[in-house]
């Protein structure tokens, strides 16, 4: 069989499920290990290097890492990766001295950033230390983008936000706030070397059902309303509020409404409860605050009642899925009427580029999205780059950060007359963790306890205060305990064929039956098909690849299923010749691994 290519880092990076799943490839196991050593500042800086906003993301990240966590494949719940990230921010010392600084002499290149959200800020952070002049244009009064305007303070306090934004702004960004850009052409005429557009997806979708005109005054777009609350233009909500939509914005709307005085808050959503786009923990928190979530309700019409309130009619539906997972909503004919004083519509948001002239060479596709090179984020106007939600539609903060890194690399190459397609790659290193006969530089004992819950303030109290953060974060003891659950997936099992004497010790000791010694298969094709029925245990999930060795002395090959390996190091401990070794994967330039 074809030996697994271990001359590049691809196989090894994939083994680190959380890191691979993180759009910014944050080295999760390494920072969790630093937490266990109580090196919080080091853990914070490692995060900061790759995801730029550890304190913010440690509270409000979409956590693509957690469903990927290996722990979900050997037990129920992932390591609380996101909340451990917050721990690094909560317990760090003053790290300002450790931040990179812009050089005194600039390189003479001027970059304009449109928008001051996570994507633009990441570009600024990556380019300022290289000597670029960064001019940032923002329509709002403060930086942060949707992190400030759409995420309520009870999830993300403004002081946490300001701290991490200021790390970047204080590096020397020329910020132009309250300064909307209304013409890209004009901006281009200012002869910037490159322009980065990170304007997000600022346009909330309307829901113009019958009766809309009558009720228009009391129907608000969710994100606009949240923004009004954030900038203190709105300070109260009426008694009865209905939120339409089932995403995280809907959850933020309902919980904010409750805090602004609403007593009867309902979320009505067309999909089933399970299919709602909101993160499970957001739904749980909303329900804990006594907000009614009513799934399977499809809105039909608005009606103005005689007393001035609004009545919305819904039809109950049944959602079902076909084989290719396409959803069908079947109406049941049952009509439900809900009275309220305010309707918040949170059914999605779109990008908006009325300020980009269509005749300046920047091409758009049929869905009014800019045509971009996915690898470089370069538009059809070579000096214009996009990132964040504005690039491909709404995603999340961590994706915006990843875009920022990619665009910064592209801009740097472009400004030096190089092709952005010819990208640098990361160097990788595998460092043996062996300290003695059976001693490792990492804690290889598997901790079997269940995921710990993050403490929060009393729910009754929570739903009354707009600016009080609900989650308290892990205390140090809980953090250290939870950190022990990490399975150290970045400590790779590295195999050297020439040293193996085929004693089968590793095969027998492996608690998860990952290792197999089998006759070589003289066929080419998909490894899953070729190996079916030939291994100790049938593959559990398709998440991970096989690690296949070259031929050994006897003609056998070693096949390790990376799926459920818990990186306990027992294979290496029981190996008499050191054919197995536990080696830490170190990627020197994380940003360059983002493809």
């Amino acid at each position: 069989m074809k030996k697994t290519d271990v001359n590049t880092y691809q196989h090894y990076l994939k083994v680190v499920d959380c890191q691979q799943a993180c759009p910014a490839h944050t080295p999760v196991p390494e920072y969790i290990r630093l937490i266990t050593q109580q090196r919080y500042s080091d853990a914070y800086m490692l995060n900061w290097q790759s995801n730029v906003f550890p304190g913010i993301l440690g509270r409000v990240c979409d956590r693509p890492c957690e469903p990927a966590c290996r722990r979900t494949r050997v037990e129920d719940k992932a390591v609380a990766i996101c909340r451990l990230k917050r721990v690094t921010a909560d317990y760090k010392e003053d790290i300002t001295e450790r931040l990179p600084k812009a050089p005194k002499r600039q390189n003479g290149k001027r970059i304009a950033l449109v928008g001051a959200g996570p994507a633009s800020l990441t570009v600024a952070r990556d380019l300022l230390p290289l000597g670029y002049q960064i001019d940032m244009f923002e329509r709002d009064a403060k930086a942060g983008g949707m992190m400030r305007s759409q995420i309520p303070q009870f999830r993300l306090p403004h002081d946490v936000l300001d701290e991490e934004l200021n790390y970047i702004l204080d590096m020397g960004v020329n910020g132009y706030f309250n300064h909307p850009i209304d013409s890209l052409e004009n901006l281009l005429n200012k002869n910037y070397d490159a322009v980065f557009i990170g304007t997000g997806a600022p346009k909330g979708r309307h829901l113009p059902l019958p009766g809309y005109d009558d009720c228009q005054l009391d129907i608000k777009i969710g994100i606009d309303w949240l923004s009004g609350v954030s900038f203190e233009h709105i300070s109260e909500a009426p008694k009865r509020v209905v939120v339409l939509g089932g995403g995280n914005t809907a959850m933020d709307c309902c919980r904010t409404a409750k805090r602004l005085g609403a007593t009867d808050v309902k979320v009505l959503v067309r999909s089933s409860f399970e299919a709602m786009k909101a993160s499970p923990w957001e739904k749980e928190d909303a329900m804990a605050e006594e907000i009614a979530i009513m799934p399977n309700h499809s809105p039909l019409e608005y009606k103005r009642n005689d007393d001035g309130s609004i009545q919305i009619a819904f039809e109950k539906v049944i959602s079902s899925y076909d084989k290719s997972n396409n959803r069908t909503l079947t109406p049941t004919g049952e009509i439900v009427k809900v009275d309220c004083d305010l309707v918040l519509v949170a059914i999605g948001q779109d990008t908006s580029f009325p300020w980009i002239e269509r005749d300046i060479g920047l091409k758009f596709n049929d869905w009014s999205q800019p045509i971009l090179n996915k690898l470089t984020l370069q538009s059809t106007l070579p000096q214009v780059f996009f990132g964040g939600d504005s690039a491909f539609g709404p995603e999340n903060i961590i994706t915006a950060v990843a875009h920022g890194h990619k665009a910064a690399i592209s801009i740097d190459l472009f400004c030096h007359g190089k092709q952005p397609e010819n990208r640098p790659d990361s160097d990788f290193n595998l460092i043996s963790q062996k300290m003695g006969m059976h001693e490792w530089r990492y804690d290889n004992q598997i901790e079997h306890h269940q995921r710990l819950a993050v403490p929060h303030i009393d729910w009754q109290q929570a739903s009354q205060q707009l600016a009080t953060e609900v989650e308290l974060g892990f205390d140090e003891q809980l953090a250290l305990q939870e950190a022990q659950r990490c399975l150290n997936c970045d400590i790779q099992t590295v195999f050297t064929e020439s040293k193996c004497i085929e004693c089968s010790a590793c095969e027998d000791i492996c608690p998860l039956d990952c290792i197999n010694f089998i006759d070589d298969i003289h066929k080419s094709g998909d490894a899953n098909t070729l190996l079916a029925g030939k291994l100790r245990v049938e593959k559990a999930t398709p998440e991970q690849d096989y690690f296949i060795s070259d031929k050994l002395h006897t003609g056998h090959i070693m096949v390790k299923d990376e799926d459920l390996c818990v990186h306990c190091g027992l294979c290496a401990e029981r190996c008499p010749t050191g054919a197995w070794d536990m080696q830490k994967l170190i990627l020197s330039n994380i940003e360059a691994t983002i493809k």
Partner: protein, 350 residues
Amino acid sequence: MSYAKSTFRHPNLKVNDIGLTYRDYEGVVSTLCAGCGHDSISAAIVHACAELSLPPHKIAKMSGIGCSSKAPNYFLGRSHGFNSVHGRMPSVTTGANIANKDLTYLAMSGDGDTASIGLGQFAHVIRRRLNMVYMVANNGVYGLTKGQLAATSDKGARNKAGDISPFNEIDLCVMALQLGASFVARCFSGDRQQLVSILKAAISHEGFAFIDIISPCVTFNNQANSKRSYDYVQQHISTAAISDFVPVKDEISCDLPAGNYDDICLHDGSLIRLYKSDENFKCDDKLHAINMIEKHKVKNQILTGLLYVNPAIDTYHEVNQTSDTPLNQLREDVLCPGQRVLSSINESFR
């Protein structure tokens, strides 16, 4: 150093007839040297017992002294065990066996424990036809005392310290054949498939089953000039017939690979199916087996596989007409019938 395995398990592990996975048959984590052949034997025993769905509480692990005899701690953690005096495991097993014939006796011994200090006991337990599986983990050296040459080392063999074995070796398989063992096999700890199927057959065999298992000592006898090293054995192994064990419950399917095979029916109805690589090989003939072993030795080859089996031989219990019921299940008045019975016995001798 890790003292425990994670309790996490692969979700697709096979469950046997009594609802256990092979991991339920494991013992504690081995403290033998990493790469020891004995650990491989332990794993084979674990798999064999799991595949046969033996209830762990119906197995007794018997051993003497030595690295081999430590090994029972590393398999069948939920079974009974007796770690006896050096070389005296056969006597203790005999006693246990007489007291309770319902248990499966798995005895693990080594080349010192069997071929030196315990040679006399070894000879007599074979002669007594005790129903047990007697395994010797044979590495040719005394590993526990740092690698002196054992009596099973070939003449001229060198150990790691450079000592040369001046005498002829004791071939335990040949001895077992001569003394009347009804099941004799030689295996290599590195050939898992063969070892597991022979173990299953040996456990199912009613009578004395002997398996000499070549088990490299990775610390004291795995050097380049050793004839018990992984490399040497892998290169010089020869198998007369690959055996496959077919348990009673499995139907014998007709789509087995075509070829030359013999079926041997065991006492309990299970089958040993032998795929013969040598057409002239037969395993119901002691003399033939001894001949084959010696012929291979001349060619510098190690003959492995099932060498001899006689499925229909009376065991110790049948010969001696001992109690069918384990003694621990007999009522006290049956077990100790009292003065009247003793008197009548005494009277019979007057």
